[in-house]
Amino acid sequence: MIEVEHLSKSYGAVAAVRDLSFQVEKGQVVGFLGPNGAGKSTTLRILAGFLGASSGRVRIAGFDVAEEPHEARSRLGYMPETSPLYPEMKVREYLAFRAELKDVPRAQRKLEVGRCLELARVSDVAEVLIGHLSKGYRQRVGIADALLRSPPLLILDEPTAGLDPNQIREVRALIGGLGAEHTILLSTHILSEVEASCSRAIVIAKGQLVATGSIDEIRGRGRPEVRLVLRGARDAAARALGASPGIASVALEERGDLVYATATLADAEQGDEATERLVAAAVRAKLGVRSVMTHAATLEEVFADLTREEAAARSEVAS
């Protein structure tokens, strides 16, 4: 549904997106995840045809957004960040205007506007001036607009940003319901958003791709830790644990005659074996093993890890 190849975009000297490639298949609900300033909005604006790319190409449903803009644009519904609307119009008037812009035939306009008002749960404010709406309602009017003419693809830029918890729950429920009918790409800088609504995630940082895959795959990128409390000398512990296979790094702290060790495993897959070997190595070195705790990385930790400063250097993680 979306094919992005080697996409780059600079604003003058600022490189907002750098050599970004990814795909979204039909029927998926994909989270486009990255910290503020990562280049999410820039990318989505290019997909929606609001901005032109500096280089690279983007296809929507097989149509190149630069070469066949009408074909591409008429296949997607786009909600820009903060959902800008005309405050002087009533909700129904606005959607009728949008329906006309999107070439909904005159005879079907009223029905189509009614359908989208219902779907986005904004029927109760249909006759209210947009300028008088709360942020949650305005966001949903933006979604109603994106739904007009039932495009196969929805692109939503931060649909829950700035909403209170109740409104967030409502918008999430709405998106969850839409996922059955539409392919959805939604951006967010909040991880739980992706866990709540999406089957897949594309993670970017500083304009570059750092990870893509299912939520579990991305969680799997995180490296679990084993925390040990050992009785013995710090040097002996360092030697024993450091030599054990499957360990990426070891941090040690000496307190009295105890050593607190935190070993980061190189690979989540072989986590259990690595833990066994670690304990065996400690026993062989005649260290008294007082306690062993394993700690799986949370998605938050993985995200923080992936999008940290050195993210650029780690682009090989991307698959």
Binding site: G49, R73, Y78, R98
Partner: protein, 248 residues
């Protein structure tokens, strides 16, 4: 031209719910009413009117009162068109709809032209009044309104362009007012430059001479060609400017 009709209608609607549009219209009508009143007072004492200098001719062609309102009305009508959409961000959903840039620009432009024409409509009542109490040359009335429309359409086109180029409504209004003033000043050159190319050129550009001719029923097609240029060129620049935003 996809999007033209929808945008035209929305733009008309939104002008009529904006207080500023009503303020501008009221001020315009008050001024023109005063203008007409003064002219009628002036002619009231005269018994023998020559065909070339009646109240209708004076209204359209012989006073500054016609331009002064144009100088503020045209910038005020056009300043919102693009500057406000860019400020509020609504330009983004607009330009991501399956429309043509030319459709967006023309839809907005035609809406202000219609509003402008509607502003002049009540002044037609003056002509009807004059016709009831004396002779009115309807040919002159027709050419007078044609000139008012042609010149105004050019100024509105300039305003549409500055609204797309400027960062704010205020900057858009100021630059278009300056451009309109500049154009008018070049025309004044007709009375200043010595005989020659400069004077011919100034005479060609002069809105004053334009109105003067048309107010006497002289419809010079070269003037209309000039007006068409002042309409087309800024609109073309506007389409280019809007397309260029995508490449920023």
């Amino acid at each position: 031209m996809r999007g033209l009709v929808a945008i035209f209608k929305r733009e008309l609607f939104s002008h009529f719910v904006t207080p500023l549009a009503w303020v501008a219209m009221t001020a315009f009508l008050l001024l023109q009413g005063l203008h007409f009143f003064l002219i009628v007072q002036h002619f009231a004492g005269q018994l023998d009117l020559s065909a070339d200098a009646g109240p209708v001719q004076t209204f359209f062609g012989q006073t500054m009162m016609l331009y002064l309102p144009l100088l503020f009305v045209c910038p005020v009508l056009t300043m919102r068109l693009f500057a406000e959409e860019r400020r509020s961000g609504t330009i983004e959903p607009l330009l991501t709809a399956p429309i043509d840039t030319a459709g967006v620009v023309l839809g907005k432009y035609l809406a202000v032209v219609v509003i402008y024409a509607a502003m002049w409509l009540p002044t037609a009542l003056y002509m009807v009044l004059l016709g009831r109490y004396g002779e009115v040359d309807w040919h002159v009335v027709g050419s007078g309104y044609l000139a008012v429309l042609a010149i105004g359409a050019g100024y509105l086109s300039i305003g549409t362009m500055t609204s797309a180029l400027a960062r704010s409504q205020l900057a858009a209004a100021l630059t278009s007012a300056m451009a309109i003033m500049g154009l008018f000043m070049v025309g004044v050159g007709e009375f200043i430059f010595p005989e020659g190319v400069g004077r011919d050129l100034a005479g060609h550009v002069s809105a004053w001479a334009h109105m003067n001719d048309f107010s006497r029923g002289i419809v010079d097609s070269r003037r209309l060609v000039f007006d068409a240029t002042v309409i087309a060129l800024p609109l073309f620049v506007t389409v280019r400017a809007v397309d260029a935003w995508r490449l920023e």
